[in-house]
């Protein structure tokens, strides 16, 4: 490790008092009870390797690679340790000392997300061939497949001079869950906001960064910053907690890049989750439920990085006629974690199985999500749990249906715009 980087990471590590407050927040510690798989343990491993007390070898590789990067430990940490920086520094150093080839499946995903059309095709093919035996190498990709989006009709757009928000689509969201993006756009417009979707945007780069492909991530980030500079200083909204977190940390990604630091910082300051924007909008949208019990699987990055998990929960519980059931693990990682459920399928399954056990006990009709990874993971979890009565759905799609239902019932005879927009 370079000595500047070494000192900067050791000074970050110095803030860790080893108090252990992170332990109950960490899903892998909960799963294993092992310090090696806890935030405090991973920090200790990076410290020891940095100080050359241990090798950058198998031990630290195991410790770091099983981290979900859910960042729940950062929220729990009383000392404000920026764990993700230590983790990333550790993973970067590890990649140098111990180059590791990602699995075929992960490489496919990292390649495909850059090409939304290919991604959409993969999801479609998956749907067709789902019931057929698949080659072994393709098996890890199964959870990605089989979702059939039912995209709502767009509500009539707000005709305003300039847009109020710029919409970030996200690669997986636009390829596999276009329904959620459309729903969020509709809701924002129902609330009186003009939405624009800038050209030239692409994948946020989070998957690449977390897989150690920093250069790829940086290139993607630059493209996005450029695309959204074109819209002026309006808020950048999106429907995926994971992407939102990455976008809101572009500033950090470029902090040592003189040319881009300010621009990235400025971009990141504009990033909001759609639910935050909608919740803060004074114009209330009438909603109507249908007697369902719903639970929320909050995106951990929305909760722990954007600190906006409360907005999602508030919206999820705002539908009259439905019953929202909160539970203690609502904000806890589902085990999806980017490509984690492909790289470490066994652990990802154990985590989602434990979560499904909690959720099943609540007997919900619907599990609401706000991140594509969580969406796929929770579907996989429900399937594994043999629970086909429960639907997994993006929060936006759920709310949009409730809004449409309310609009329809308030204007039963008119066939026109259900949005109530002026």
């Amino acid at each position: 490790m370079q000595s500047v980087a070494r000192n900067s990471i050791l000074s970050e590590i110095d803030h860790c008092n080893k108090c252990g407050f992170c332990l109950p927040a960490c899903p892998t510690y909960q799963l294993t009870g092992s310090e090696l798989h806890s935030p405090r343990g991973r920090i200790a491993m990076v410290e020891a390797a940095t100080r050359q007390e241990i090798e950058w070898g198998q031990g630290i590789e195991e410790s770091l690679s099983y981290c979900l990067s859910c960042r729940a430990c950062e929220t729990a940490c009383p000392s404000g340790v920026r764990y993700h920086r230590i983790l990333e520094a550790g993973r970067t150093a590890l990649a140098q000392h111990r180059p590791r080839r990602l699995s075929w499946a992960t490489r496919q995903i990292l390649g495909t997300v850059k090409h939304p059309r290919r991604l959409r095709r993969l999801a479609g093919i998956g749907h067709t061939f789902r019931k057929w035996p698949m080659p072994r190498a393709l098996l890890p990709l199964l959870p990605l497949t089989g979702y059939q989006a039912a995209v709502a009709e767009p509500v009539s757009p707000i005709s305003s001079k300039k847009p109020d928000v710029a919409f970030f689509e996200g690669c997986v969201m636009s390829a596999i869950f276009p329904d959620a993006n459309r729903a969020a756009q509709n809701l924002l417009q129902r609330a009186g906001l003009a939405v624009v979707t800038p050209q030239g945007q692409g994948c946020c780069g989070a998957l690449h960064l977390h897989a150690g492909q920093r250069e790829e991530a940086v290139a993607m980030a630059k493209a996005n910053i450029l695309a959204f500079e074109a819209t002026g200083d309006v808020l950048v909204v999106n429907t995926a907690g994971g992407c939102g977190a990455m976008l809101s940390e572009y500033g950090e990604l470029f902090e040592h890049d003189e040319q881009w630091a300010t621009r990235a910082q400025r971009f990141s300051q504009r990033v909001r989750d759609w639910s935050t924007v909608l919740r803060q909008q004074p114009q209330e949208i009438p909603l109507a439920g249908s007697g369902e019990r719903v639970v929320l699987q909050n995106s951990c990055h929305l909760v722990n990085v954007e600190h906006a998990g409360d907005d999602a929960a508030a919206l999820a519980s705002s539908v009259p006629g439905d019953q929202f059931v909160g539970y203690p693990g609502q904000d806890r990682c589902c085990g999806s974690a980017g490509t984690y459920n492909i790289e470490h399928q066994e652990w990802a399954l154990a985590i989602v199985t434990a979560k499904m056990a909690d959720i099943t006990a609540l007997r919900p009709n619907r599990i609401l999500v706000n991140n594509p990874g969580c969406h796929l993971q929770m579907r996989w979890g429900a399937e594994q749990a043999g629970d086909d009565s429960v639907q997994v759905e993006h929060l936006a799609t759920y709310l949009e249906r409730a809004a449409a239902r309310a609009a329809a019932s308030s204007q039963p005879t008119q066939g026109g715009s259900p949005d109530g927009a002026p």
């Binding site: 080893k18 108090c19 252990g20 009870g33 092992s34 020891a48 007390e53 031990g59 009383p78």
Partner: protein, 861 residues
Amino acid sequence: MHKQGALAGQLDRLWVAGARASRADSAAVQGVVSALNATLQPDQVISDRERLLAFSYDATGERHWPDVVVFAQSAQEVETAVQIAAAQGVYILARGSSSNLSGGTTPVLGGLILSLTRMNHIRHVDVLNRQAVVEPGVINADLQVALQSWHFFYPPDPASHRISTLGGNVAENSGGPHCVKYGVTVNHIIQLEVVLADGRRLLTPTARDYRVGLDITGLLTGSEGTMAIVTQITAQIAPQPEQTATMLAVFASVDEALHTVSAIIAHHIVPSTLELLDKKSLEIVESFVHAGYPVDAGAVLLIEVDGPSAVVQAQTAAIADIAAQGGAHEFRIAQSALEADALWKGRRAHYGAAARIAPHLWIQDVTVPRPLLAEMMRDVIVIGQHHGFNIFCSAHAGDGNLHPIITYDPANADEVARMRQADHDILAACVNRGGAITGEHGIGIDKLENLALMYGPRERQTMSDLKHAFDPSGVLNPLKVVLPPPVRPSDPHWEEPSDHTWTPNTAQEASQAVMDARQAGIQLSVGGYFTGWAMTGRPLTTPLSTSHLRQIVDFDKDNLTVEVEAGMSASELAQWLRHEGLQSPFLPYSSPKTTVGGMIAANARNWRHAYLLGWRDVVLGVEWIDGRGQILRFGRKTMKNVAGYDVTKLAVGSWGRLGLISKAILRLRPLAPQRLLGYTQSDTVDRLLDMALQFGASASRPDGVVITRLKPGQAQLWIAHESPGAEPTKEWVEGQGREAGLTWTWLEEDAWVSWEDERTRLWQQALQHGTYAEGGVLPTHLSHVINRVALDHLFIVYPASGAYEIFAGPNDVPLNLEGLSRRISEGQYWQQPTDGWDAIEDRIRHVFDPDGIFGPSKSRT
């Protein structure tokens, strides 16, 4: 030598041990690893050097390489692992969340780390018997959550309760903000299942008041994993109070705040929380969490009271007045749970906020008698200034427990050295104030060398010998809690027999008498007036009496403690305290020839405070004279003290086998001006028993409950209440009676005396002419016991603890009666054997009485 490189910042701990300790050799470690791998699953054993690094530390921060890690999933696996490691002489350290702040789980000499995190099941919650049985890896907060649905709680809630395991709480004897009212961990641990250093798994004798044998549960609680490894915990739980009020009082200075603390105590209010933050803490906390604390204040008190709503309202109003008189310029009462939470937010954020202002922080933990807290805080500030630190404090003010925080940069060697010096000076200052160097964090490695500030070589040698009694080969958690002095202290100086007396007037005379007896080979029986000697089952040898030791040594009204000589009449002390508006829970009102020392040695039952575990909850310290004539002093007049082993616990129920108790420090409680005593009767005992069990599970319960059949065919359920709230308690009890069709008779307090006299008369009569039998079972099993007792037998049953006493004719009580612990019939003495503990009890006796002058060394059967 097992080769493991040194880690950065690692202190050389080996010098402390001198030549006495070293790491296990690599062949031994290899043998252990192979044996473990052959027995356990691959994911249960870690033995490669790199992965072991993650187990080299705890929250104290020092790092040492362990040799192997095992994740035990059951008590059987703990047994197996201990057997394997002990056979090779490899050290064994139990580990939970490793959140301790004294290095208790740091593997100073390497060894096997026995992780108990996977043993995290709550086995059983039993509200009628008010106990929860849990595995050691259960997180404290998880137990609280599980108890909520029962409307119960587990009172000790250390600041780490969201992370720390109950096994760790037991090992450290953890405190927390609520122990000012409810006591610390040891006051709630009924029984432990432990694996000993020799690999045997045993249940400890119960801590309840029908225990025979020594209070091993009490001694092991707080022993920091150096004596045994806990594999299961039976904890006492309590019904949630009906109402809780949370208040914040704001003062211009720490002195004003602490005067208010004293005034609250002087007003006979025992809050459930009494926390203090000083000025700098407020600034730091407020800049971090915006809890709404005033930043220009000198100090704030966070106060909570709980209980019946009428009591809570009265106490809240009283505290508001007291605070105003004490100079509080602001006083807030939370109007909702949300507001209460907001008031707590600042206190909870203290550690975190402090951690953000500097790269590292060190949190100290000292306890002084509560009235000296202000002086102690001044000491801390001065010491800080002397060493160049701006130290700030939080305090569990109700307990006199202070947490000074020093922030520093670990990379700055000079600062680290000054921090350590300041740390040492704070401990020395605390000892000068009569305090304990740790109230709840433990000695571990951190204060190992500083224990000598508090305890002399004889006490440390005794503690060290006690460790040896449990762990003769020294494999459990080495170099923790206590080190023996470099040279074993020689016996006290003995000269030719002076004109000593068997009724000494001072501890020195008592010591001289013991030495004389030892020299002359005389067997001694120690006691006060020997009224209860028959209960020991031993012949009365030469009586060494405390009857001339009857002074009050120290009465600290503000601190709520009294230190008395052991021969003082218990009822006289009770009378005297009553004039001061105080009480000590277990003192009787009659029988002047019962001494305080005798009651402690006998762990005498008293039903008026039925939900305490016994004298162990009241005795804070003892002075005793052992079989060498050494005058030993354990404990302090502090509410919390985890410095070294809790040797005081061994005095309670020691029955004169470990020496002569010469002084005792007792914890006092305010005596409420209105008290309650009454009874109801029924022809069926079961009906009364059912009602008593329902009482126990309710927050509205009276303090004391007992069932008697003192005349044939006449069963009575008695209740007593001496805490605040006599009136609402009376109403509640009467309401319960109406539902059950029972009416209550209320008596004047004088009825105590006749109640106690009647019991004493029955007891003496049974001892002389019939059978006296006693024992204990789970409270819900008392019914089986009663139904086996003949109709004409008289008895007393204690439905809170499960104890029973039977007064019967000659040879009338069968030895197979459930839970029978002691039977004395026509001079024949029988006592329940202490299964599996005989060897350890003998070794403990040998520590205090090597020549067996207080009785033969073999345990009775």
